[in-house]
């Protein structure tokens, strides 16, 4: 009977829910009946039991049949994309983190002195970062699954009251939403939110100091100024996040979502214009004032920065205006079609 107990216990351990004990009892009764029939009136041997259990099926398979409510965090609609992103993250996070740690090591003499230890620490740091990243992505996908993915039961044909005349217009090509790109967008927004709120001091120019002391770093933005803008940016990003969720759910652009998007884009332009018009939002001058001797050392970084900064601004503003223009054009198209 030991084998039977072990089998029932193995099945039971894979069944989650309040019926577990009841299922175990029923399974025992069924198996004993089957064993009786198999052995007729003779005593069952261990081989009889083993054969019976083999025929009955692997515990995982049996338990799987009893787990009737297939509830999952990530359903079949999102599973492939989820796995793809997890694979990318599993490759990108260790590479990114290793580069970051190596840059840190090059910047600090103290870290160079403990080089072996710092390199050894890359493994646990990667593991910890991977766990956080995978967890965060899973939470995001779970939320999308919970809130935005249309479930099969929603499409149930049992509701006889529906009226075909009330169906929305067929989706026009330019109103169609590519759901996968919106999911990628959500992940991107979350990443930017994390960087802005927790690591904004790490945004900067890294450069070789040329003095044999490895790498130096100048944060781009003045933390004092940035801290005033981070809440505004975060609100804008959260609004985009909500927009992406709505678009995933609806599968199409509507007038409301277009207007909402235009408002967010205009808000982005205003926030960005406010930011760049704020004196000293770029950190370099503040650094020089505090430590004039650094000026010579930081010269290469300033040159790089000044050369590309204005160009960078154009590259940021132009797409913003193009995007607003495209959205307005699409909205007008929408109105004309109605």
């Amino acid at each position: 009977m030991n084998l039977l107990d072990r089998y029932i216990s193995a099945v039971g351990s894979k069944i989650w829910g309040k019926n577990r004990k009841d299922i175990e009892s029923e399974l025992r009764s069924i198996l004993l009946d089957a064993l009786d029939e198999k052995t007729e009136s003779r005593e069952a041997t261990e081989e009889d039991v083993a054969e019976l259990l083999r025929d009955f099926g692997h515990p995982s398979e049996v338990a799987g049949r009893y787990n009737l409510d297939k509830k999952y965090i990530i359903g079949p609609e999102l599973y492939d994309l989820y796995m793809l992103i997890i694979k990318i993250v599993c490759i990108a996070v260790p590479i990114g983190l290793t580069i970051g740690i190596l840059v840190d090591i090059m910047q600090s003499q103290q870290l160079i002195d403990n080089l072996f230890w710092e390199i050894f620490l890359i493994v646990p740091k990667c593991f910890s970062a991977l766990v956080s990243a995978v967890g965060l992505i899973t939470i995001i996908f779970g939320l999308i699954e919970k809130t935005a993915v249309i479930k099969q039961e929603d499409l149930s044909l049992t509701n006889k009251d529906w009226d075909p005349r009330k169906l929305p217009e067929a989706v026009r090509e330019h109103d169609e939403v590519k759901r996968y790109s919106k999911i990628i967008g959500i992940l991107w927004i979350v990443l930017v939110l994390i960087i802005l709120n927790f690591f904004s001091d790490k945004i900067g120019v890294y450069y070789g100091s040329g003095t044999g002391r490895g790498w130096s770093f100048v944060p781009i933005f003045s933390q004092g100024v940035l801290s005033k803008f981070v809440p505004l940016w975060s609100i804008s990003l959260v609004m985009k996040l909500v927009l992406n969720m709505v678009l995933i759910k609806e599968g199409r652009w509507k007038k409301k979502t277009r207007i909402y998007n235009i408002l967010i884009l205009i808000a982005d332009v205003i926030i960005f214009a406010m930011l760049i018009s704020t004196p000293d939002f770029i950190n370099i001058n503040t650094v020089f004032l505090k430590n004039p001797s650094l000026e010579q050392e930081l010269l290469p970084a300033i040159n790089i920065f000044e050369k590309f900064f204005k160009l960078g601004l154009i590259f940021i503003f132009i797409p913003m205006f193009v995007e607003i223009g495209k959205e307005i054009a699409a909205l007008i198209k929408h109105w004309r079609a109605d």
Binding site: N19, I23, S25, E26, L27, S29, I30, L32, D33, A34, E37, F56, G57, E61, V62, R65, Y66, L68
Partner: protein, 127 residues
């Protein structure tokens, strides 16, 4: 050589066809499982006796399918169940509930309608 390649190709094609057929038969049978089980539970049965009864009638249901199915039907209030101590062994007996009887009646009517439609369709095919 060419002959053996053709033979191998035919064997592969056959096994592919068999797989398709097997899948379709499975699908067809799956649709009839609930009504088959409900039809035999006008009288109480425990899992193993029901499995044997169905086998006697020519319907061989995999045990791993039958027992969870009984639980699902019970959770849908189509069956009632209770534990009975019998020959020093606890057995869970299932029987149609009042709701289950109503459903079986409707399913039977549906089945009969389908049966006559299918017979007509298949007769046309043969003709």
């Amino acid at each position: 050589m060419i002959y053996s390649i053709i033979v191998i190709k035919e064997v592969i094609t056959m096994s592919g066809q068999e797989k398709v057929l097997e899948g379709l038969i499975l699908e067809l049978r799956r649709g009839t499982l609930v009504i088959s089980v409900l039809s035999q539970l006008k009288k109480p049965h425990y899992g193993y006796s029901l499995s044997n009864k169905l086998k006697e009638e020519g319907l061989n249901i995999d045990q791993n399918t039958l027992y969870p199915l009984l639980r699902r039907l019970e959770s849908q209030n189509l069956l009632d169940s209770n534990w009975v101590l019998e020959e020093s062994r606890q057995r869970r007996y299932y029987v149609l509930s009042i709701f289950g009887k109503e459903i079986l009646e409707k399913l039977t009517k549906e089945w009969n309608d389908m049966d006559s439609v299918m017979s007509r369709l298949l007769m046309e095919e043969e003709g």
